[in-house]
Symmetry: C2
Subunit: 127 residues, 2 copies
Amino acid sequence: MTKQRALLLSIFRSELCKGQHRTADELLALARERMPGISRATVYNNLRSMEEEGLIRRITADGGADFYDSSFVLHGHLICTVCRRISDVEVPTLLDDLKKLSGVDVDSYELKLRYVCDECKAENRAV
Amino acid sequence: MTKQRALLLSIFRSELCKGQHRTADELLALARERMPGISRATVYNNLRSMEEEGLIRRITADGGADFYDSSFVLHGHLICTVCRRISDVEVPTLLDDLKKLSGVDVDSYELKLRYVCDECKAENRAV
DNA sequence: TGTTTTTTTGGACTCAATCTAAATTTATTA
DNA sequence: TAATAAATTTAGATTGAGTCCAAAAAAACA
């Protein structure tokens, strides 16, 4: 356990990441506020190992940077196709449902739901 | 409608892509077999416009190149976490189920199911 | 404490994808 | 059909996220 890794873990546990979806770049910036010299490679190294250990989840979006998510509960993501904002959606029975429906012993899933959020609908923004 | 675009469409409609998931690079190589001078940028241009028109779907995998899929039926993807191979899985009621479960008017979904395929299980390969 | 192992670091590098601006092709209209 | 306008193709440059590398530093171990 290094100082750098401890810092990243504390950032994930803090309000800065509660219910948020951060990119590696954002996390690097947050880390540098408290440890200015921390290297980009270190952030990537730790994000990878933390993902492998199951501490965080990586969300590969459609182009652009990946997001990281500290929630432990398996859940899907609602993505507004207009403003690109992401929010969580929990579907408690989904993993079991998917195992039954697919007939495969699924380990985990990644689910993105595309929709137009209420704000964008209200403002009638184009897709 | 240009020759290049017609070629790409015919490749997608052919056996070369039936039930397959091709990367832009693979599609470029297939296109160059019949039109050696075709440019990489043209392939990307057309893939993008065809995706916007809903003719094909783009699958952003976890790192590495995106895949393209010519199937019109909304479906999920089974991804083996060992050998990385992708196959399709159809869950006919899923869109409706997700609308109900999430309480949101979902337009479409992207679903990736992680598992270990039979072959990799049989050969006991590590994750 | 001394030794071994792991991690960090910064910069180089990779790779997919996009951008650019000129040339070409296709579509339009007269 | 010719003239013009609009869209597409092209090669190469560029971007940007992420990885790799080898040396330095830090952590773990005995």
